[in-house]
């Protein structure tokens, strides 16, 4: 099965071959490296930009203004912060022009902790991104969704931010992407650039892929249940699923796990239906907890489902600290770990109504 980096690469190939993608660019995105996570190896329209994140977002806006279809990469979301007012401009361009200039832009960026990334390779951006009105914001947790959400982003007439969990880049999927060879080795041979001298003159042999977008704004029920709801995205989908399986095996009931997939416009219908069913909800993500996106969902839960709740709703998020330390105990203390999720879910399930 493809890993997430390969899935993104295949989506970009599909985009430049069939969907009119004109430019895939960013720092080290072009040959010979093809991206620090290899997401852009072997593609036709890639190019290396100056080391200038503001220039990258600015150029993406300009290309879109001129009717080009650009996919820009910010190498790590840790370095997207100095582009915030350009992201705001991209978000308000269509609104400010009263509909004259919609911008078809895809920005992709690796996000989150979990790779021993220290202060500046561990940032999350979902809470910040949720405030960028005019953007659609997605975060896949599986290679299949990475493929589908990239296709949807490329086709979307608005700016879309695709946050790819850093920790999941090399994780293989459990579902074949339509058109993907079933033999992993074959896929690797066909689309992973060889190392060293062999890379010179190398050409990928792309599989015949299909257009199967993952709709923006639609959550995925990862695991059904009636005992409680976990609403999460990115790498915490797997942590929540694992803990839910463990608790079910103990006979504590089935926890429903929702992979939101889209931060904006989020699938309130899916969240709402699940909460009405379970009456117990945990919002889970790794961005810092003060003014966290999960807090917004908590607010809506309280405002709209207060009388249906059987236990107090909860948010488990990253600690409000200036940075994530390199030493493993520091990182583990800063972002939600499996044992934190377990503790919260046990408490949620055992709270008497």
């Amino acid at each position: 099965m493809a890993n997430m980096a390969q899935a993104v690469r295949m989506a970009l190939h599909y985009g430049e071959k069939h969907l009119g993608v004109s430019d895939i660019f960013g720092e080290d995105v072009g040959a010979p490296l093809g991206g620090v996570f290899t997401c852009t190896q072997g593609l036709k329209t890639t190019w290396n930009s100056p080391l200038d994140e503001r220039g990258i977002i600015g150029a993406a806006i300009g290309l879109a203004l001129a009717g080009q279809k650009a996919v820009a990469e910010i190498q790590f979301c840790d370095y997207i912060f100095n582009t915030i007012d350009l992201l705001k401009l991209a978000g308000n361009n269509n609104w400010a022009s009263n509909g004259q200039y919609p911008l078809n832009i895809t920005v992709m960026t690796p996000a989150g902790a979990g790779i021993h990334g220290s202060l500046y390779h561990s940032h999350s951006f979902d809470a910040w991104a949720s405030r960028l009105a005019g953007w659609k914001v997605v975060m896949p947790s599986t290679p299949r969704d990475a493929y589908g959400l990239m296709l949807a982003a490329i086709e979307e007439p608005n700016p879309v931010l695709v946050m790819i969990p850093k920790a999941l880049m090399r994780v293989k999927g459990e579902e074949l992407i339509p058109g993907e060879p079933s033999d992993e080795k074959e896929l690797k041979e066909r689309i992973d650039a060889p190392l060293g001298e062999a890379r010179k003159g190398w050409e990928p042999r792309w599989p015949e892929l299909e257009f199967v977008p993952t709709p923006i704004g639609k959550a995925r029920i990862v695991r059904e249940g009636r005992a409680a709801t976990v609403v999460t995205y990115g790498r915490h989908v797997f942590i929540a699923e694992k803990v839910a399986n463990m608790l079910a095996a103990e006979g504590l009931g089935d926890v429903e796990v929702i992979d939101l997939r889209t931060i904006y416009p989020y699938d309130w219908a899916a969240i709402s239906q699940s909460i009405q069913k379970t009456g117990r909800v945990l919002f889970l993500n790794e961005d810092t907890e003060i003014t966290n996106f999960g807090e917004h969902l908590l607010r809506r839960t309280i405002e709209e489902h207060y009388y249906q709740l059987r236990a107090r709703p909860r948010l488990l998020a990253g600690a409000h600290v200036p940075g994530i330390g390199l030493a493993p105990p520091l990182e583990e203390a800063s972002v939600p770990q499996e044992h934190d999720v377990e503790r919260e879910l046990r408490a949620l399930l055992s709270e008497l109504t």
Partner: protein
């Protein structure tokens, strides 16, 4: 397309062209004066604009190739560019509509300040209040034009304008870097209008470089410092710049020395400054000397322009604001209205 083909080879030796140039300048000034009047009488919340820049702005407005798409020039303007767009042929009333934030404002539908122009049919991308961000965005449209050029398709030039103070922002450097990547040079005209102030702060107290143009020269870009109060000089500088870019596909830089005749904006009162030269006065003296116009004729050109502005204002007074219920429209293209999912859409 622009009507530059109808412009005489030596335009300022041509009486009709010179008189028409004077009318453009006068109309642009009358518009700005009307906008300031509107602000003072409560028919607008804020004024900012370009009185004092008309000699330069009219030249740019006449030389630009207007149209939609990479085949034409892209304009990344700033908030002193009303005179450019008026000269290009926009209706005077449309600026007045934006001043009064009426629903009929064609640039932003009553959403943005005056002089925040957007006109897709002429490649005028949205003017932003954020200073200098246009220098980070402009290389993108120029890349599309470079691409058209390489394919042998019709291609325009990307024009980007900002003031002198804004060149302190990093985005100015971004523009220079991205326009001059070796082998990927972009067809861009960089213009820094230098009025020697950032709101109240004199440039000489903040900038050690002798000329802004020197910074462009460091990137191998041809660059000129031009007297923006002289129609002849700025006309010819722009002509050289456009010709060079159109023939080489590479960027060019103009630092245009201009006057700022009503201060920064309404935030500083917008009172008329008397210690800076006025390009219209200077041009009128020349026209009078050449005998192509009389004092009375100048007065009548002015009266006509002011009358046009006043009539437009009267009409706009009757036009409504946008409905409050439309505030979320165009948050997104393609159907999603914006706001809170499950509540607003």
């Amino acid at each position: 397309m622009s009507d530059t083909s109808r412009i005489p080879a030596q335009p300022f030796k041509d009486k009709n062209f010179s008189l028409s140039y004077h009318r453009h300048m006068t109309r642009a000034r009358a518009l700005e004066e009307r906008l300031i009047k509107m602000m003072r009488s409560g028919d607008g919340y804020f004024w900012i604009g370009g009185p004092g820049e008309e000699a330069f702005a009219v030249a740019l407005g006449l030389q630009v190739r207007k149209g939609e798409g990479p085949a034409f020039d892209y304009l990344h303007l700033h908030y002193r560019s009303n005179p450019v767009v008026l000269t290009m042929g926009a209706a005077m009333i449309d600026f007045i509509r934006q001043m009064k934030s009426t629903a009929t404002d064609p640039f932003s539908g009553g959403r943005n300040f005056v002089a925040h122009i957007c006109k897709r049919e002429w490649n005028i991308v949205p003017v932003t209040s954020t200073i200098e961000t246009q220098f980070a965005v402009a290389p993108g449209t120029a890349m599309a034009q470079r691409r058209a050029r390489l394919k042998g398709l019709p291609h325009g030039v990307t024009v980007v304008i900002g003031g002198d103070a804004g060149t302190a922002e990093g985005d100015f450097a971004t523009g220079l870097i991205w326009a001059t990547r070796p082998g990927f040079e972009l067809p861009m005209l960089f213009i820094a209008t230098n009025n020697k102030y950032g709101i109240s702060t004199p440039a000489e107290t903040q900038h050690g470089e002798k000329n802004i143009a020197d910074r462009a020269r460091a990137f191998g870009m041809p660059a000129q410092v031009v007297d923006g109060n002289s129609p002849e000089k700025i006309w010819s500088a722009l002509e050289t710049a456009f010709d060079t870019i159109r023939s080489t596909g590479k960027p060019y830089f103009l630092e245009v020395m201009v006057s700022r005749l009503h201060g920064h904006s309404s935030s500083s009162g917008a009172a008329r400054t008397l210690d800076e030269p006025c390009c219209i006065d200077l041009f009128e003296k020349k026209l009078l000397k050449s005998g192509w116009i009389s004092e009375e004729e100048i007065e009548s050109v002015k009266q006509l322009a002011h009358q046009e502005a006043q009539e437009a204002h009267e009409r706009v007074k009757t036009e409504p604001y946008p409905e409050g219920s439309t505030f979320q429209d165009h948050s997104f293209a393609g159907g999603v209205r914006g706001g809170v999912p499950g509540r607003d859409f």
